[in-house]
Symmetry: C2
């Protein structure tokens, strides 16, 4: 079960290990939206995304024998880096199955953290099969990227920190929005936030074509994305909500917000020009939803998660070169 | 006189007005340098640089009559934005003399804050003459960018925050390094830090060719830069230390660190790839000094100021395109 106690236990394991990322506020963003926008900056987390939290919380609980045999994971790149770094810190061998078209920075960093990268074709091969057979060969533990209660609990520490840091300023979020792929980040956050402040509305943010959560939440059952869908958000391409994550999310979420790739392409230059932060496409969808007016922030306190910042320089430059200058 | 009390009074005026910018730490930067590096992120301040602090602290003390007549300032762009924004917040008309080759983002933002921009040629015209005659015409108050005790006191609040936020983590800086042009930022910081922790070593960071502080501190007298000097650091081109700032800095600083433009060109991609922060050239010189090994950080706690983040997209993209990938 995913409970507040489990998230709090994760927070105790991560204390002094994970970065206590800042909860930033920006004058221009507040003016633009009419609300108080609190940005949880997980791009500043170890490995450049929130994924380190869940990975470390899972790996640190492995037995000495499991640690010796190593771990296997599959990931478009941020869970890869999170697992690879946590494994290095704990002295655990790690093999990660990654799409061959993952951003170069994600592949390079995963290798730099000492993990073995096994590449596959995102559109023709099944990464889960590759991962499971690798794990079976080696007797290694599979570390899921979202459908695992300890992974979700690790990501949920973000919810605790949002409430604590907002509270220290005399604020409490009326709304929380987080990027969503398999649903582990939002499930962890929702578990923490709903337990401590049940009146908070919690929304996923997803790219168009990968809006499986928005549709599944509305339908009350797990729906999948069209396999032909494509998006600039390389980190948010899970085929459907996870079984364990959806069991949480169907109960705790208020709904799902959906943004176009063009809206993401506008949020990244806003982050550069105004927020002075690097954000990757998948990490920018909650910001994009806010800037695109998907939710009315006027008079409300809205916490958004900027969930990752692992973007290739050339992709970033191309997005910025094509975007009009951000207005102040 | 610039005293701790004056900096503390500035902090009281800025409380709830300026951003309490985060003091970030990065695992990779710590590993690379062997120290605990605390980064004071003033790019996240209102107007994208520390300059808002000093400008607001000066302007908020103007009389109703002075406020009505307005203010005049000259600046390469960050003091311009700081004054323009503080003036807008306080309902004060502002005219700013800016070089015609200032970064486009600095000109656009200064205008967006509602200030009148008067352009001059950085290499053939005298901005102080233009500014003084404008102020005389209008009966406006001149707001110096560094040689003013209230401006320095405002910037000095950064020193207070570094000590407080480091202290909250059980740390105290052995060394503080800040970018330096006219010397107001470092004078304010040094006044606060030396009063509270006299054993701290405090260093300026300057670009080669504009190393007037490094040389003046060594000589014990104010020395000027060669007017033919050029640097990518558009914000750090004051001709010599200020009279008031040098009076403080000659007593309180340990020395000056100097970096090449190429070292700045390496620090900006490091900030993007690893720190996930936008930094402008002048804002990156303390980071560049650290990465270039100008100071031995091993076993020490070193606070550096990332003082500004107002950089044109195209300049940023060009610097990143030419730089090798940052190693983790």
């Amino acid at each position: 079960m995913l409970t507040l106690a489990r998230v709090e236990a994760a927070a105790a394991r991560l204390a002094g290990v994970a970065v206590r990322t800042p909860l930033l506020e920006n004058r221009v963003l507040n003016e633009r939206t009419g609300g108080r926008i609190l940005m949880k900056c997980e791009g500043l987390q170890h490995s450049g995304s929130f994924k380190f939290r869940g990975a470390y919380n899972r790996l640190v609980q492995l037995s000495p024998e499991e640690r010796r045999r190593g771990v296997v994971a599959w990931s478009s790149g941020n869970h890869a880096q999170g697992v690879a770094l946590a494994a290095r810190m704990l002295g655990i061998p790690a093999a990660i199955v990654m799409p061959s078209d993952a951003p170069a920075i994600k592949l390079a960093n995963t290798r730099a953290y000492g993990a073995e990268c096994v590449l596959y074709d995102r559109y023709t091969q099944n990464r889960e099969e590759i991962g499971h057979s690798l794990a079976a060969e080696r007797g290694a533990v599979v570390v899921p990227s979202y459908d695992d209660h300890d992974v979700m609990a690790g990501q949920g520490t973000i919810g605790l920190e949002i409430l604590e840091d907002a509270g220290a300023r005399g604020l409490a979020p009326d709304v929380v929005i987080a990027p969503c792929s398999g649903g582990g980040l939002i499930a962890g956050i929702a578990t923490a936030v709903q337990a401590l402040r049940p009146e908070t509305e919690i929304y996923t943010a997803e790219p168009a074509g990968f809006d499986d959560h928005a549709r599944s939440l509305k339908a009350g059952e797990i729906l999948s994305n069209d396999p032909a869908a494509r998006s600039i958000c390389d980190a948010l391409q899970a085929p459907s909500p996870g079984a364990l994550t959806f069991d949480v999310n169907r109960r705790l979420l208020s709904g799902g917000l959906v943004v176009t790739d063009d809206e993401v392409r506008a949020a990244i230059p806003f982050a550069f020009d105004v927020l002075k932060l690097v954000v990757e496409p998948g990490g920018a969808v909650a910001l994009a939803a806010l800037l695109a007016g998907r939710i009315d922030a006027r008079g409300r306190t809205v916490a958004i998660v900027l969930s990752g910042a692992n973007i290739d320089r050339a992709v970033h430059a191309e997005i910025l070169a094509k975007a009009p200058a951000a207005r102040l």
